[in-house]
Structures are given as C-alpha cells and as structure tokens.
Amino acid sequence: MGPRAQFEAEKPDSLMRIANLSKRYVQRRLLRRTPFTISAFEDVNLTIHRGTTLAIVGESGAGKSTLAKCLALLEKPTTGEIWFEGENLLGFSKRELFGVHREIQFIFQDPTSALNPGLTAEEIIGEPLAIQRIGTKDSKRTRAQELMEHVGLPQRSRHKRPLEFSGGQRQRLAIARALALEPKLLILDEALSSLDLLNQQMILKLLDDLRAMHSLTYVHISHDLRLVSEFADEVAVMSQRRIVEQKPAAELFSRPEHPDTRALLAAMPSLESICLGRLD
C-alpha cells in the first residue's frame, strides 16, 4: 500500500500547524454604528503531516477556498497562527515571506483563468523562477523542459499558449509551474472539479507519482467525497465555518464521530448505488 502503510507505521512530524485561525470580513455600514461582520471561517485548528495528503471537505461555500488561500499565504487571516516548519509565519516580515513562497504553492480550481493566456508554456513555468530571481535564461528554459516532462506534457508544446492545450493539460501546466520552485507543500483548491472523470484519474496518478518524486505534502480542498476516499491519507471536515473533525481517512469513513460528518457521508452516493443505478 506504499505511502499509506508507511504513514501508519512511522510517526510523521507536522509540516504545518494551524491554530485558532479565523478570517472575518468587516463591512462598514453607511448609517448604522456597528459594522457588519461576515466570517469565512472561525477558530480553525489543523495539523498537516509531512509527506501525507490531507483532504479538507465540507459543504460548498467560500469557507474552504478562503482557508486554502490563507494557508498558501494568498490572503491574510484575521486572527490565529500559522506554524510552518516550526516558525510562525504570521510574524514574518515581507522579505521573509518572500522566501516562504517557495515552500508553499497553490493550484487553482480553474486552470484556464490561472494561466496568463498571452504567455507560452515555457514562460509560464519560468515565471516563478523569474520572480524569485533564480537562474539564468538558459537554466530557466532547462528547468521548464524538465518539469514539462515530469508532468507529462510533450516538449514540442512548450511554445504553445494555454488556450492551445486541453483542460487536463492546462492543469498539468499549472502543476508544473507550481513545482518550479521546489515547494514542500502543495495546496489544491478543488483542482479536480473542472476535469472529466478520465482526466481526474490521470491527474491523481500524476500527483501521486510527483509526491514520491519530489517529497511533497498535499492539502486537497474537495467536495467530492468519492474522490477523497481514493487518495486522502487524512481528512478534515469543515462545517459551519469550523473544522469539526480531523482523522486518518480510513477511520473517518468507517467511524465518523461528528454528526455533520455523518450527514456528509450519508449524502454521498455509494459505489454500489451508482452501479445499481446504471443497471436499471
């Protein structure tokens, strides 16, 4: 069973720890005194173990995506702490954060909008290197070629623009770009939702291979429990803007504790019912 067995056997250390994280939006109202507060998520506690895949599931809503963005440092949380490799990221200065971006990367749900349509594949993959000022033009080109190979994109398409690729290929391109900086943590926000079933499986396999190759840790945001059951090591359930349970996948699916988790699992169509449905 490969990585999963290993996970059970060893005691994995935590790569990232989230403590009491909240994100609130405040809207000032024109004539009332008290401002209007919307909370995206409240008091979130999570542990992400090195080398594992954590899935965050829950009802559809902006909460999970916003959490994911905060983990990737794309948004600032209102309160709480983010510990990465033993350091509190929220205390970092801008310069220190610049370096941290190399460690944590983000994959968007829709690869088409995440890629600049005016740039070629090579340029897209090379951009993070350019921003972080790594290497020369030649070394960037070589690295881009390398990464394209890793994700399974043909070399001859390195001068093509995103629109010339298929949906699945675009997501591969986004993944290649995310790997350019050799990150430790990859956060995927519903990265499979926009793909068809075949592509989903292919990308999942790719991600699995990449994890071994590059010693990656994944956090998947997903609403698709069926998929989650296939790839996740640990699952955290988000409900009413909070994390209600975090457990190894097998445990969660067999012995769910929280009522919301049970409700979520109950709503999930089981494999048998799908097959039976098709036979009718």
């Binding site: 794309l74 983000f106 968007f108 349509p117 921003i131 770009r177 900086l181």
Partner: protein, 343 residues
C-alpha cells in the same frame, strides 16, 4: 476579417500621410514662407498632358501664369511657356530633421515656372507646401498631447485601480473635476493666462502641455476599469503566490491587458487634439505667422470675400477629413478586435 482589413487600410493611409508631413521639406515644392506677391490668390495650377497644338506629352506640364486682361485680379494660362513636371529636382534649401541641409525636392518645375497644386494665399505662398509644413505643427501637437494624456491616464488609472482605497477615491474625484470643465474653454482660459506674445516653440510646448494635462481624466477612468478587472484575474493571484512584487504584477500581467484600451484612446484623442490646435491657431491664439499651422492656413477664411471667392483656401480643411477618418477607423477596428479577443 473585415476589421483586420479596415485596420491595415487605415494604418497604411496614416503612415503615408505622416510620412509626407514628416518629410515636408522633401515633398513640398516650396518653402512655407516663400512669397510671390505677383501671384497672390492664384488658383490651383492645372496639370496638362496635351498642349495647345493637340500634341500628347507623357510627362505632364504646367503653363506659365499671367494676369488675365479680361478679369482683373484673375490669372490665365500662358500657353507660350510650358514647364514640364520633373521629379527629384533641386529647389530651395531645407533642413532634414533640423540636422543637415538638402536641396532635393520630390517634384517641381523649372524656377521660372509656378507649380501651385493647391493655389496660393494672399501673399502668393504655395498652399500645398504650407499644408505639408503646417502638418508638422498641428499633427505633432496632436500626437504629443495625446501621448501625454494617455501616459498620465495610465499612471493615474493603474495606481487608482491597482491600489484602490483612498488613492482610488482621491484620484477619481480629481478626474471628475477635470471632466466637469468644458475643456475647450479651459484650454482657452489657460492660453489667456499666458502672455500673448511669446516665442513660437514656447507657445507650441505650452499648448501641448495644457491639452495633454487637461485630457488625462477619461483615459484614466477607462484604464482604471481595465486594471480593476485585470488584477482579479487568477493568474495575477497566482503570481502573487510566487512572491511577486506589485511592480512585477503591474508590468507583466496587468498593464499588458490595457494595451487595447490605450491604443484606442490614442487613436481617438489625436484627431481631437489636432482639431483643438487648429481651432486655437484659427482664432489667432496658437502658433502664429509666419509659421504655418493648419489653423493659420484657414484663418483667412474668416473674411467673407476670401471665403466666397477663393475656394481652394478650403482645401487644407478638406484634406483633414481622410486623415480623421483614418484615425477613427483605426479606433473602431481596434475596438472590434478587442471585443473578439477578450475572454
């Protein structure tokens, strides 16, 4: 694609027009200040291919001009003197790009002949030459002012759109003030605040500066709109995730999305500013004599007898029509292409 052909057609026309004006010294048969008092208000010289004897000549020629005994003040063709049209002739000296002197003209006739393809004005100055030289002033003023307005618009629009918050509020309120002022009146007012008789080039620069600075508001608002939507694009957020600085985001991702709007604005502003310069000069408030600006060429039309008797004095204004048409077509075609490209 229809819009593609339109765009290229318009651009070629513009290039030709600007090329002619840029090398006015070469293409104009005479200097802009050359007077010929005997030939005051001469109508456009006709080119002939067959002479009085009915013989056909491959090379066109013009007749000499002499006073018409039947109509005092008018001219008649002197068929005894024929002046063939030659190309690449030697003529009056001019400076190429203000650097070196040349005597070479694209076309002309022998020095005792007269070639007034657009007629002459009251001082006997060739209108065609003055039109070409005048373009250097009017067109340049329009181009520079448009560039200035758009540059300011990009600056303000990107700052306001990108950073939002109070910067945005402040800049947009400011732009409203500028939009609330009727700009032609404002232009005149600022012109009024300046001394009436200052050096030519100073008037020119001042005009350009004022027009350019007054006109930043509309481009700024349009560019701000593009920037607002551009900065929300996911690939901009992604670049932030690599630690990109604001400058990188602006220059590499956001501003490239404004190119379409910028080009369209330029294409629309140039004719507007050219017309403003022409209006000012027409009223005597712009660049004055003896410098030819298109406005100065037209200013004599304010006198009724010139207006009704000498039709060729209208020609400089008529020639502006294809020029403006070309600019507007360019702006149109650009907008069409923009609509089809944006996702």
């Amino acid at each position: 694609m229809n819009s593609r052909r339109k765009l290229w057609g318009a651009l070629i026309l513009l290039a030709a027009f600007h090329g002619l004006i840029l090398f006015a010294g070469f293409f104009a048969p005479y200097g802009f200040a050359v007077q010929d008092r005997d030939m005051s208000f001469a109508p456009p010289t006709r080119l002939h291919f067959t002479d009085a004897q009915g013989k056909f000549h491959l090379r066109p020629f013009v007749y000499g001009l002499k006073d018409d005994p039947a109509n005092p003040g008018a001219y008649a063709a002197d068929t005894t003197h024929m002046y063939p049209l030659r190309f690449f002739v030697q003529g009056s000296p001019y400076k190429v790009a203000g650097l070196f002197e040349s005597h070479l003209h694209f076309f002309g006739v022998a020095s005792d002949g007269r070639l007034f393809l657009m007629g002459t004005d009251g001082y006997g100055r060739d209108q065609l030459s003055r039109f070409l030289y005048g373009g250097q002033i009017s067109l340049l003023a329009g181009l520079l002012a448009a560039a200035l307005s758009v540059a300011l618009g990009i600056l303000v629009g990107s700052l306001a759109g990108f950073y939002g918050g109070w910067i945005d509020e402040l800049l947009m309120r400011g732009s409203e003030i500028f939009l609330a002022l009727p700009w032609l009146y404002l232009l005149f007012a600022v012109r009024a605040a300046l001394p009436l008789h200052i050096a030519e080039w100073q008037v020119f620069l001042l005009l350009v500066a004022v027009m350019g600075v007054i006109g930043w508001a509309r481009p700024a608002r349009l560019i701000r709109g593009v920037v607002l939507s551009a900065k929300e694009r996911k690939f901009v957020v992604a670049a932030r995730g690599f630690g990109a600085s604001d400058a990188h985001l602006l220059f590499k991702h956001v501003l490239p999305q404004t190119y379409g709007v910028v080009l369209t604005q330029i294409a629309l502003l140039i004719p507007q500013y050219v017309l403003a310069e022409v209006t000012l000069s027409f009223l005597g408030l712009g660049v004055g004599e003896p410098m030819a600006s298109w406005g100065t060429l037209l200013s004599s039309l304010q006198q009724y007898y010139i207006l009704s008797s000498y039709w060729w004095m209208f020609l400089p204004a008529l020639l502006l029509i294809p020029l403006f048409l070309a600019y507007y077509t360019t702006a149109d075609a650009l907008q069409e292409r923009l609509k089809s490209v944006s996702l």
